[in-house]
């Protein structure tokens, strides 16, 4: 009996000793306060593991979060639709334009060196492009015909297209990797890349964390004026936290110092209830997400939604403002076209135009159009979505609006891979609801969705409209990318109602009290090293 009691006491003591042990919860707070000789550190929570740090892979959630720190680019773009910031490249200009070829002349800064001391030259740019193009992991590289090396610090980029913002997009994806260094390290490069960037990876534990430390021999000190090239902290740790709730807890617990993107629905742990201001001890910044939620109608020949009146009837019956309130808690904007104001070429006066159900359901008008379409309301309408909570909730609200109109919708949700397959099949759906967005210009977003040249004469939702295509081409051409051209396309797209814009979601970047300012590169990817801190 005594032995049993003793064993129980020992077990209890063991449990208490586990609990009383000092854990890692304080490490960022303590480590982040620089005393003399002590490095400053910031921990960034990221939702996915990049898998590899190799420069020749496709973008994924993990590497989007880390590559802005690990790699430098020829230039940066501030946030979305922001000004290009020369970085490795000092300057660039259009040199010539003829016969479907555009030639851009670039000058690289002199003395760009990686952490191994090897100099980055125009030959490395050519090598990078020649290596990544055949891999097919960056679709935009197909627009580069050739990189012509003039000398060590000058090269020409020969493009076979000239969409607005294309050269900036390409230059911001070309990374500062010296061929000699890459070949020297071989497979090891993917775990500990040696680059021209201000930070170098010192440790990469797959699935767990990536640690990058500031270089003292950075080439761009006092030379590289890009905001994103600054290094305001000595050490950055990217901590991989796959669960969204755990990410929030980690920030509250001081296990991380910033979370790059938080959906509005998860925000309320960090906001005061009364005025929705950020709670003491935290810092927040917000941006409008470039990927907007769109309701696409199937315009293929044999589909009922090839009928314009039916499409408009559905659009008048769906109140997108109410969807923003119900699904996003008001943290977003109901769209007035396909695309949002986060793009530089969006025009704010478009909000003044009437746009179907944006400001409330117009059921009478919807029913009138439904009648004139001659659609058999007993016919089932297939709405397909991805298995994303937000999209499914939106689909459920759309479903109820369409039922109120007298239609018979049915929602089918698929996981991402299958969803893309279904969207490409004209017989598989009538309406699909999904996010679309690209680059820094609305015109480019329209291009990837509505350019009929990309998909054998049809848009993503099987529209064939030559007038629409003509307006789109005018929007994409830098020489005719005017507000008037943009408005023409927008008006035709809205009039025909080939697709119905639902909302743009507001996203938040959250930080601990240590953070005083966030700095972003293209597509709102955060650059932790360049952010401002109060240690």
């Amino acid at each position: 009996m005594m032995k049993k009691v003793f064993a129980l006491i020992l077990a209890a003591a063991l449990c208490l000793s586990f609990g009383a042990c000092n854990s890692q919860t304080d490490s960022t707070g303590n480590g982040g306060t620089p005393d003399a000789g002590r490095a400053s550190e910031v921990v960034v929570g990221i939702a996915a593991d990049p898998g590899t740090l190799d420069p020749f892979v496709a973008s994924n959630t993990g590497n989007i979060a880390t590559y802005q720190t690990v790699y430098e680019h020829l230039l940066y773009i501030n946030g979305m639709g922001g000004e290009p910031q020369p970085s490795i490249a000092k300057s660039y200009e259009l040199e010539s334009e003829s016969n479907g070829q555009w030639v851009w002349a670039f000058e690289i800064n002199e003395g760009v060196k990686d952490a191994d001391g090897n100099t980055y030259t125009a030959n490395d740019v050519k090598w990078y492009v020649d290596t990544i193009k055949p891999l097919g992991v960056d679709a935009n590289m197909e627009y580069i015909d050739e990189i012509e090396v003039v000398d060590d610090t000058h090269f020409k980029m020969h493009l076979n297209a000239s969409q607005i913002g294309l050269v900036e997009l390409l230059a911001s994806s070309i990374k500062g990797v010296v061929r000699e260094t890459y070949e020297k390290y071989g497979n090891e490069f993917a775990k500990n890349p040696v680059t021209t960037a201000h930070y170098q990876v010192s440790k990469y534990t797959t699935g767990s964390e990536i640690v990058a430390e500031k270089r003292d021999d950075y080439w761009g000190e006092n030379v590289n004026k890009a905001l994103q090239a600054k290094a305001n902290v000595d050490k950055i740790t990217f901590k991989i936290i796959t669960d969204a709730t755990q990410m929030d807890i980690a920030l509250q617990n001081n296990e991380v110092d910033m979370i790059p993107s938080v959906a509005s629905a998860d925000l309320f742990d960090f906001l005061n209830e009364d005025d929705l201001s950020v709670k003491d001890g935290f810092f927040a910044d917000d941006y409008l997400r470039g990927a907007t939620l769109i309701m696409f109608f199937n315009n293929s020949e044999n589909n009922a939604f090839a009928n314009e009146d039916l499409r408009k009837a559905c659009a008048y019956a769906v109140d997108t403002g109410a969807i923003v309130q119900n699904v996003l808690g008001g943290q977003g904007t109901a769209l007035c076209t396909v695309g949002s104001e986060c793009f530089g070429d969006f025009q704010m006066d478009w909000y003044d135009d009437e746009y179907y159900g944006r400001n409330g359901v117009n059921l009478d008008k919807a029913k009138e159009l439904l009648t004139s379409s001659g659609f058999d309301t007993s016919q089932e309408i297939r709405i397909i979505t991805e298995t994303d909570n937000t999209i499914v909730r939106v689909a459920q609200i759309v479903d109820s609006y369409l039922r109120e109109l007298g239609l018979n919708p049915k929602i089918e949700s698929y996981e991402a891979a299958l969803y893309e397959e279904m969207c490409a099949d004209p017989d598989a759906w009538d309406i699909f609801i999904g996010y679309r967005g690209a680059g820094d210009y609305l015109a480019n977003m329209w291009r990837w969705t509505f350019d009929q040249e990309i998909r054998d004469g049809f848009t993503a939702n099987f529209v064939h409209d030559e007038e629409l295509q003509g307006y789109l081409k005018a929007c994409l051409d830098p020489n005719s990318h005017t507000p008037e051209d943009m408005t023409k396309f927008k008006n035709l797209l809205n009039d025909k109602c080939y697709a119905y814009g639902i909302f743009a979601q507001k996203m938040y970047v959250l930080g601990s009290k240590k953070v005083t300012e966030f700095v972003f590169a293209e597509n709102w990817s955060i650059v932790p090293g360049a952010c401002s801190y109060n240690f």
Binding site: S23, T25, G207, S208, A417
Partner: protein, 322 residues
């Protein structure tokens, strides 16, 4: 006994081969375009087609299967991830320890707490000890792992600041995931042990032993436990194999870089080689675990050991060897 083990090891080869063919075929027919997953929606049809060609996805089924079988069985190479180009073999090897720790500690907890709990319940059948033990077991089986894990995190990380909430790094990081993962195992093992011990506890030989004046402790350790542990060992062995494959929820919740998380991500992104490699590796682990369970049977139950040795003797007699 050694021949039996060797025979089982040899049988693993056709089993693994069959698993490889089945999983390859399943992945071949699963719908979903990996080129669209990699490139996203902002790419042309030509770009998608070019990527599919480069990844070898346009080759016929048998060509792809033969190439894969050659790589796996002749070169021991599971291929490269089609999503990020990393070696699947390296990824699995690097992630194996984390899943092994979770699975192994869960089994240890089941043995250390589940079996004694079940024995106590069986020995005090119908009394408060039995009721309490089975109530704890019921809680363990009923509580979803992700819920329990989150509750533990809220209490011990967020409110008490005693333990970290996610990741791996120090031994403190493992406490909450191990408890979360192991609690269900304790419950299941306790119930299994209780029912198994109850069957044996009323046996004639136990009554005889008591009548002879053998102490309760010796009755338990020499008579009851050896005879009641066979089903428990089977259950633990199967559970260990399942744990190796199924700690996905725990790994995702606590951001533990294990095989479960790797496999689920690979399935979602149609990373064929990663999925195939994971399944094959798990099949190998499962086969080895089942072999170990069978070996343990032989040590627990002399009748089984004698059966193995008896089979060998029979063969020697038949072949005229003395």
């Amino acid at each position: 006994m050694y021949k039996y083990i060797l025979k089982r090891l040899l049988w693993m080869i056709p089993i693994i081969l069959a698993v490889t063919i089945v999983i390859f075929t399943i992945m071949y027919f699963v719908p979903g375009d990996i080129a669209k997953i990699i490139l996203g929606t902002n790419a042309s049809d030509e770009a998608y087609a070019a990527l599919r060609e480069r990844l070898g996805l346009n080759d016929p089924y048998f060509i792809r299967l033969l190439n894969y079988l050659k790589d796996v069985f002749l070169h021991f190479n599971f291929g490269e991830s089609v999503v990020d180009g990393t070696s699947v073999t390296s990824a699995l090897i690097s992630r194996f320890p984390a899943t092994l720790i979770l699975a192994f500690t869960s089994i240890l907890m089941s043995i250390a707490f589940g079996i004694p709990l079940g024995i106590v319940a069986a020995q005090h059948n119908g009394k408060w000890q039995d009721t309490t033990s089975m109530f704890i077991a019921l809680l363990g089986i009923s509580m979803p792992g992700f819920w329990l894990g989150l509750m533990l995190v809220l209490l011990f990380s967020l409110h008490l600041h005693w333990l970290p909430s996610t990741g791996i790094g120090t031994w403190q990081h493992w406490i909450l995931p191990v408890i979360t993962n192991g609690f269900g195992g304790i419950a299941a093992t306790a119930r299994m042990a209780r029912s198994s011990v109850l069957e044996v506890i009323e046996a004639d030989y136990v009554t005889t032993a008591r009548a002879k004046g053998v102490s309760e402790r010796n009755i338990l350790t020499r008579h009851i436990l050896p005879n009641s542990m066979i089903p428990v060992v089977t259950s633990l062995g199967g559970s260990f194999g399942m744990q190796m494959a199924g700690t996905i929820v725990i790994e995702n919740l606590f951001s533990i870089p294990g095989i479960g998380q790797y496999t689920v991500n690979a399935i979602g992104s149609r990373d064929y080689y990663a999925v195939q490699g994971s399944v094959i590796m798990l099949a190998i682990v499962f086969s080895v675990v089942m072999l170990l369970v069978d070996i343990i049977y032989a040590y627990i139950d002399p009748r089984i050991k004698a059966q193995f040795e008896g089979q060998s003797k029979k063969r020697r007699v038949k072949s005229g060897v003395k």
